[in-house]
Symmetry: C2
Subunit: 186 residues, 2 copies
Amino acid sequence: MRYPASHKEEVHQKLLKNASEQIRELGLDNVSVKSVMKSERMTVGSFYAHFDSKDDLLKSAIEYAFATTNLEFYDKIEKRTDASWNKKVIERYLSDYHRDTIALSCPVATLMSEVSRASDDIRAAFENNLKELLKRFEPRVGKAKATGLFALLSGGLLMARSVESEEYSDEILNDCIKSARALIKG
Amino acid sequence: MRYPASHKEEVHQKLLKNASEQIRELGLDNVSVKSVMKSERMTVGSFYAHFDSKDDLLKSAIEYAFATTNLEFYDKIEKRTDASWNKKVIERYLSDYHRDTIALSCPVATLMSEVSRASDDIRAAFENNLKELLKRFEPRVGKAKATGLFALLSGGLLMARSVESEEYSDEILNDCIKSARALIKG
DNA sequence: TGTACATCAGTGAACGCGCGTTCACTGATGTAC
DNA sequence: TGTACATCAGTGAACGCGCGTTCACTGATGTAC
């Protein structure tokens, strides 16, 4: 089954994409080599033709998650005025769609809890990506509020996901939207 | 080794206390029956004399974590005026001590990510405890801001824990303190 | 063009390990007489 | 008071299972002549 190099690279990218969704959907700890290979109908044996180790996979999958989220979430609204950008970011981040589409959601919110217990290697990679992300907020609301606003957004999203009642979850999102606006004004 | 009932109850409480610290320190997924029993120098076999199952342990340990944190963190400052209470809560929640003492820290911040993937049972218990906790904030800052402020605090604490550099982590805490104050004012 | 060979992505069984749970057993204590 | 027995918290080995990793093997494809 020797394929041209581009085929292997294609498979590699698909595995990364699936892994980046699985780490968000299931949590870093609950993604297995088998579950990732199975996502492309392959068996565990060839995993090591694509990645050095499971740790290598997780690190790469985190990077992939950041890259695609930036593309999907921030690049598209980059040209807006501050007021319009602020409004859009808050509403999109704290939307029920973002809350429910965990596999494609913001890696900071979804992963920061597990990353805080991960290796220095992974924490350093996470830190770089977080800093890059906050750079998009800083020119809009100032440095301190960029961090605070993002803490509110990510914390609010996690809170909305961690309760059982959907009604209460919606309330959390709405209260956080109101608070995010108050924060920017305050 | 038949002891009076009080002895077994004492051991049970110690196991719960240790488990409640381990779930925060290591994460729900990384606490094992063995690690909990080992914390009292006991062997795995007698675990089932104290708990129905590992799930039962986790649920009880979460409840225990909420109960003791409320006692330690909120009950002690309950009598303060609003301004003094707000200041104290923000500073204590976003202190380096709280960031670094993970085993005794706020269960909402530490567990919400894993709870969002847990059973309905656990999510319902978590929701009740979260609501009780937010009731302490509501008379101080109003309903919407209670939720938003707590999202900012818990999100900020998690962000500070998830980066590698201590210097940047301190910065996150400080920026979140400033933002929390702006939120209350805004 | 046709044939022989080299390549290497992918297979699937095996490895040692830690997990949650079960269970026959131990032995210090409380109770009955 | 002293002895025999019942209790039951705790022990430690065993269970089946899924994990990350390794490795001998397969077989479709590209290359050389």
